[in-house]
Symmetry: D3
């Protein structure tokens, strides 16, 4: 019986060391990642009671994914193991300017993509819970997953849970048209919507006038304007986004915004030395959920979530091996000198 429930796929993540490309590597590091897995694990790491709901193959790769959630304290009691199914896999090649990092997916036919109606008893899963989180990746895994996402969100809403949703548009999984059509089915049930300008346009069809073609000139006003449009249309209580400036492949600037109570709250901007940027957005979501479920004020919430997710970029892993005390030290202006 966890306070926060997330639902979605996790994948085995394989990445060559030392900036090598797949073709030249003789070894692959193995970890586990997936947007909703990451959020559940990050929340457990922040000492919240969270549980990740998923379907996994009944083989060592499936067990590995379950174990890694459990290692950091996420609840795994609602995970189901399926015979004759496979684990989604993804490969990450880490880059250096001017070569961007690159992801290769091999996720088709994973256990969760073959979910059948009724396999998950959402009433049971949500018993005692307060918050439900999922992302736009889950419904993009196929119609079965889209239906299950819709059912989960609507059941959560019905049972009085707070529902957060990261738009997370993935063009290699579905088209903008498909995304809009599916998302419309349950967008009205969402309490907090996380997503950047591109997500917003592709998934919700909303675009502020001040946005240009390739989303490169996003300013604060544009973000606030878009957030207001989203709230007007769907009745979201919160809209949040991260603002990444890609100075180079290995150096990014990072800032967060939370639109709440009618106005935007911006965090300070962090200059990041990237170790691994995958999962940065999920850490932001986790940091927000942690903050809001603990009744932080909007400014405090966005400050915490942004600092927490800024630190994620220094960690090799989809998930964020950072403690609350590390975040507090950063927020207190801890600086970049070695801590003895």
């Amino acid at each position: 019986m966890s306070k926060i429930i997330t639902f979605g796929e996790a994948m085995v993540r394989l990445s060559p060391p030392d900036f090598k490309r797949i073709e030249q590597t003789e070894a692959l590091n193995i970890t586990v990642g997936g947007a909703e897995f990451n959020v559940a694990v990050d929340l457990a790491r922040l000492e919240e009671s969270s549980s990740w709901v998923s379907l996994l193959p009944d083989n060592p790769l499936g067990k590995l994914m379950r174990n890694k959630a459990r290692e950091q304290g996420a609840g795994v009691e609602h995970i189901q193991f399926k015979a004759d199914s496979r684990a989604g896999i993804y490969f990450v090649e880490y880059g250096a300017s001017p070569r961007p990092s690159k992801v290769l997916y091999d996720r088709k036919n994973s256990a969760i993509s073959n979910i059948k109606p009724g396999e998950i008893n959402w009433e049971e899963v949500f018993a005692g819970a307060e918050w439900f989180h999922t992302t736009g990746i889950t419904p993009a895994l196929g119609e079965a997953c889209a239906c299950e996402t819709e059912l989960a969100i609507k059941t959560a809403k019905k049972l009085g849970l707070f529902v957060s949703y990261d738009l997370n548009f993935r063009g290699n999984l579905w088209s903008s048209a498909e995304a809009q059509k599916v998302t419309e089915r349950y967008a009205g049930c969402i309490d907090m919507c996380v997503g950047n300008e591109e997500d917003t346009e592709k998934v919700l069809g909303l675009k502020s006038g001040s946005t240009d073609e390739d989303y490169s000139k996003l300013d604060q006003d544009s973000y606030a304007e878009t957030a207001q449009m989203m709230i007007d249309k769907y009745g979201f209580k919160y809209v949040a986004t991260t603002l990444r400036e890609s100075v180079s492949v290995q150096r990014n600037n990072w800032r967060g915004m939370l639109f709440a109570k009618g106005k935007p709250y911006f965090s300070t901007k962090y200059e990041l030395e990237l170790v691994d940027r995958v999962g940065g957005g999920d850490s932001f979501s986790a940091g927000l959920i942690y903050s809001l479920i603990n009744n932080k004020e909007p400014q405090d919430a966005v400050d915490f979530a942004t600092a927490y997710s800024a630190l994620k970029h220094s960690i090799f892993s989809d998930t964020n091996w950072i403690d609350k005390s590390d975040v507090e030290a950063l927020l207190a202006g801890g600086g970049t000198r070695i801590k003895r």
Copy 2:
């Protein structure tokens, strides 16, 4: 234009180091393997002109498989890269007594399994070739592959190539009944058939009277008897098999038999310290093909093939990083002392 053509799937092979299990490893070694890939590469290593025919995904994993064949000199001119397809993957856990080594396959929906009629022009592929080799794994990948295997074998036969076939029964890919039904379609076109007692019973339905239930008490007479039955029924010119005694997980004994010209030829028996036993049988096939295409006498052929494949077991890889000179040194009684 290669002298020897092989046809079949290769997979990316991922294996934890240091006898670790998948659930406990943080890294995986990556190599490439597959029965027909192995035979083509081993023959190239033995300085024969060989070419591996396959369908691969048009992504870095597909390129990796092509590269690794090329690295050791196998021809790759007939490989086709397919968009929107995936690379088969398999995992190997290395064991130690009493824990056996274990393989986990994730090969469904690989590029080759979706082969379409006419994609390979066998007349072109076989132009100038003398020998064709494939194994019972290829037709087991699905009806499309079974048809293509049949077509390849029959075209090879028609064009006058020598056809060798390793029965290689894989119970996780098809049933014995399916195997028999498919294999009957082209068994009469095979010149050399490689396979052990279990393969022979499961794929050809033949069982010598002296075989017991679990194939553990196989003696020389039984092998010769079965070989004669195979020849009588299908008209094979050669029948070959390897005899593995599993003393422990890390120590095996290894011997080969070639039935030719009406009688069995047995090699000496090697005591193996196993580094990696995957691909041992394929090395035996490659050693036989090398020997016979170079007109070695049956005894010399089985001696070479067995020594060559015995050495394979000391090599980490599906393929055999052994030179002809290493085999010759072993056959000459080189001994186990360090060579300076």
Copy 3:
């Protein structure tokens, strides 16, 4: 609320790779181990509800130990984190004949060794539990630990739990005289006692007439005789032991005995190729507890426990990354060939 509770220290384990000695290595593998930690984790791996009770330092090493228990499903709800304390550490050098493997301990002043009376509320810990397990290492960590062990055992007994105890004599922690004196305080509360001939003599002062000086000529009769003496003196319900023959540093033979219902039950003997023998005895204890709590008959119990712990020796880790299905395959005569 777990069914089985264990209590004791865990240490960070550091071991050089590739048979290197500490002085020559540039890297150390890091895992976690400790007799009672191992038993709790192994039971969780066998899908039993187990919980490990301990005191850990409130730093990343303490968290690491907690995480690793959690990763495999052991309960960690009774672990307490202590400020200003340290993690015990031990180093293992893996040997090859004639060089034995070697352990170097740096465990003094660990968090648990400074336990204070009342820190653990045993009534709460044992609520709903059926079984309590600890070993002779815990009381050997100092008088504070000896008192806590006594209290835990007596409370468990009072509350009706089944109490199992592995004598586990460690000469570098205390003398035989000290061990006997402390153990006498609670030996009468033990239901199942695990220990070899040396343990029995050093900890309980019992020695069968057929035992010689250096415990090398232990035969079946001697074991049974000693077990009967233990039962006569202390009223144990079960006495169990493992019989290790050290053929060489890397090859051992392994057999188990369970004395129950007035007679000894012996398992078959396994020939082991050692990857890592640390934790082998703990796996035997875990296998016995699993078997008895599931009402297996004595012969089945010792068979399962011995097979399970034999497999442990092939696993790099103090704990046993083996599944029930692996044990069942071994008991069914699975053999040493690769499993595809």
Copy 4:
């Protein structure tokens, strides 16, 4: 029969990981490199038909060098293996500001340095070829190599091949005076000359008025001026150079110039995060050859070659594991964000 032929030495390259110095490392990564090897391999990677001509020792190191060329598709049919010879070796220590990276050569007496007149039949090698490439390193390996380089260039010219030459002055192999004397023998046969200001002065004795003492203040005008001087003196059709600004050890700026049809064409400037800068210049040469043999216009040629070689700096290896599609994405303004 390859379209492009390169000729020169390759070496086994050994490099400590993790910025370690040779004295402190316990392991060395092993790859293969050499200017002309690199160009042949890079061209094969760009899907051109290329072949690398060299003499290698008949031992596993020689085979390794051959294999690595073959792995990426370069032709190896003209390589000769020599008994009783050795493989050149070089060590690279990777630095970080203010410590520069450092190379240690052990290349004396390599197989190619002992080449004998007539060992290579250039008429045969060049049959069907269109382009010949070598660099100033080959003649610097000794008089035997200087003669062979001269012969190769003159034969190529006679047979109508396009001849490209990278001046590549190496002060540890020969003096400026020696370089000038040798290069004069065949400079008139060169069609495209690649080299920076220092190369030009040391090898050709040409220096523009605007160059200062230590080549640090090279501006665009100076480059163009020097190129024109080279063309006036030797009749080159193309002169090309790369302009590296060493911002720090790990950050460089990179730009290319191609002087063609009477004027200089400059590429855009790339800001590089260096993973491995060795082979960057060779990638530039390969990119130019690829572009010109495919009839790209000068601006397109220098753009492609510079982008391609900029990407090389992000790759651990002398050779460039980059695909044409990666270059196209960069030229299209792909940006530094992760590609999913």
Copy 5:
């Protein structure tokens, strides 16, 4: 009989690779470090006759520490091995902005912390020596060490050795009040005092008027002013300090100052790409000692020491695997391009 003697603790240093945190790593790199160990080793590396005095546990970890000093040429003849004692250990997590690097100490009860009066015969140790160096870490290890430090310094002074002392305040070992009280006992015997503004205030109770609260706005004048105050109060001959600007976790600026003969000498400022900053200050001390014992002028001394310690930051290790020739190349403006 060495020219330079240092006295203090060394620890086994364990650090996760690849920016991992302790909780997520499966391996730790092992090296050895400690302020006075580092200085002795660095001086040996600079080809000075140095000897490190310490007490070590009589186990493989103690031997390892001795060996690593010896490997680089430091004298180890005064090291004493103690039974039943332990090696101090420290863990380093390397960070990336905004996550600072972090040190976790486990050094209590190390061999040296239990030193007994009379164990070291300082008259013998100092026979023939010219220079004695220790730091504020040694007396902070406990009253026994404080007494021994006092004795060593006073004996050195008495015997005419030059005494250098790095204030090195460690807040986790003692309070500012304790530090001041102890240091007062022997401060008057120190010839050269090394320390930054914070050290000076915490250990000597001196603070220039121009220093603000968190030591972030330290300018040149402030440093000079403070140095003069130190000299006025304690009669130091030299005062030295390093000025680190932490641009980011991985980029620092680095400059040194030596106050001598009544005025401050500042080095140039280096922009550092950090590989490992631990030991940077010790390298500065070593560089100063090397310079002054070789009679360099103040400006040359601070230039050498700063260049030498700047290079240290590019080296993975507490000690500085840099040669004098590397320093000279840097001082001569060697630049950041690869050296062939």
Copy 6:
């Protein structure tokens, strides 16, 4: 001023991990080895005062070799660093039955092979020494080395040192005829001669009647007979040999013989699990020297030397990271169980 002096070449040793062959490895482990280097280091490890005399290249590889001797306590004060010279290198491929381990040398033109008369002042080197050791590898490095070996031996003899010599015949360095001719020049000055039957025949031209063609049937009598012949001819005081039975590549049996005072003394036979057999013979020599210089009786000497060198085979390295206490434990029948 060391008690024991050794003289000879050391090489950088590069070996692929995990039984890989050179062609398939991506990394090489780097250590240092060489017969006389090994003996000096082993003696230092046994806490004897030893010094290794050699010529090394003045580059990081030369420094590495010096450092590694120093790390374990061998004296390096007589090592000379030569500009423009190279480090000998050798590669080891570790095998598994039936593939033997294999060594590839690249040692030509190493610093020592170009030694010039008078470079080493042997009178100075031997001042205060008692024992001189070298092997038949040193004179085999060329006539310059042969002369220097002769000079060293004769000077040692003249100065009253005890001279030990390991015949160590290397067929890839010189012929039997050359070896005999050179060795005759100084054989009469040798006090202890170490060598097996093959060495004795090839280097001294002596062969007992009971030896067969391939040295496989060597019995105790044959060894004693040969030793007596050597003593009769050259006047050696001691003759020693090791008897290796190569059961398999990874399992050997090992025994030593010392012929002294007119009769042979044989050690017990050890069953070895090989980790690394290179340097086993050198450890035997070191063990003998250690024993004899400490006045052990012949039986004790051969027992110690054999146990010490048996343990070497379990150590990854040319040198023996074993302590005297380990040898004593083995001689006391320590057994193969883990030592806690």
